[in-house]
């Protein structure tokens, strides 16, 4: 229970930190990093939900969701980085 809460709370804090830096900073790269931090936060929460104590196997559903979520986040990040890079290249 405690472990679970700890992970969950860390997740929520990460998420909010992400939101904060997304809203507080203008540079698109920082916004992108912020988004990934938010993602990490959500995944923490999901992992925490999956935990059912040491003696029982964890709930596989949230784990699967996390894996899917990670791949999706990676894809979006890759595209965003490329677009951002095209911008800078034109600038200089």
């Amino acid at each position: 229970m405690a472990t679970q809460l700890l992970f969950g709370l860390v997740g929520i804090i990460l998420f909010l930190l992400g939101v904060w830096s997304f809203l507080a900073h203008r540079p698109l790269l920082r916004k992108l990093i912020a988004l990934n931090v938010m993602g990490a936060g959500v995944f923490h929460v999901l992992v925490a939900v999956a935990y059912r104590g040491l003696e029982k196997t964890p709930d596989p559903i949230p784990h699967a969701l996390v894996l899917t979520g990670i791949v999706v986040a990676v894809s979006a990040t890759a595209l965003a980085l490329t677009l951002g890079q095209r911008l800078e290249h034109e600038d200089d």
């Binding site: 229970m1 679970q4 809460l5 969950g8 709370l9 929520i12 804090i13 998420f15 909010l16 939101v19 904060w20 809203l23 507080a24 929460v45 925490a48 939900v49 999956a50 059912r52 029982k56 196997t57 964890p58 709930d59 596989p60 559903i61 784990h63 699967a64 969701l65 894996l67 899917t68 990670i70 791949v71 999706v72 990676v74 894809s75 979006a76 890759a78 595209l79 980085l81 490329t82 677009l83 890079q85 095209r86 290249h89």
Partner: protein
């Protein structure tokens, strides 16, 4: 730290408190088992023994199919922004040796992860990630193509995952099973086939994404 920032911080703090409370409440309630027991009970019917793989490739295979489509969309999007950016300097001797040693290792362990995914932690995504890493290392060590095949073949590789998935689903549907329904007899092999295709696709896609553009360049 402007007033706006302070305001923002305050709001987020309040939201955080609320979220924390709700989460605490929800966890304490322990919604009747959630899906864990149900899922674990039916793993044997899925054709694989690793519950997570069972969920990814069978119970919720539809999510995974769309997720592979997301990867495909990303790389196609990247390619649509223009040709890839110029490569790096050729690696020094040390890095060259290191690469020569690591890349085969990565490929080997990718194969292992793919196989082990059936019954223990591992699977297509872990394996694909390793392949992608291999590609990145090759690129960093100065290979302009990151070890990827010619564009014509590369195109085939990156769609392989979705192709295998949809093809399997449609064939089985035509055979009278539901869409994405894998009869137990063949489930294991169907899943393995899909995973292998997906591994290649993911690896190629991640490496290609690192090129940040369409690799039109002739190979050196």
């Amino acid at each position: 730290m402007t007033l706006r920032h302070l305001f923002l911080l305050g709001t987020l703090a309040v939201i955080g408190a609320a979220l924390a409370w709700v989460f605490w409440d929800a966890v304490a309630v322990q919604a009747p088992g959630r899906l864990a027991d149900l899922a674990l009970d039916r793993v044997p019917e899925s054709g694989v023994s690793n519950p997570v793989t069972a969920v990814l490739l069978n119970f919720r295979a539809y999510d995974t199919l769309l997720e592979l489509a997301v990867l495909m969309a990303a790389i196609l999007g990247i390619w649509s922004t223009g040709p890839d950016v110029p490569g790096f300097l050729p690696a020094g001797e040390v890095l060259e040796k290191l690469t020569a040693a690591i890349v085969p290792l990565l490929i080997l362990s990718a194969g292992y992860l793919l196989w082990v995914g059936g019954h223990a932690p591992g699977g297509a995504f872990q394996a694909g990630a390793l392949l992608g890493a291999a590609g990145v290392i090759l690129r960093l060590s100065g290979r302009p193509d990151a070890g990827l095949p010619l564009l014509t073949w590369l195109r085939l590789t990156i769609v392989l995952g979705v192709l295998a998935f949809v093809a399997a689903a449609l064939v089985l549907m035509a055979a009278g099973y539901g869409f994405l329904t894998f009869p137990l007899a063949v489930a294991k092999w169907v899943i393995l086939a899909i995973e292998s295709a997906a591994t290649l696709a993911i690896g190629a896609t991640l490496a290609a994404a690192y090129l940040a553009g369409e690799p039109l360049g002739v190979r050196t």
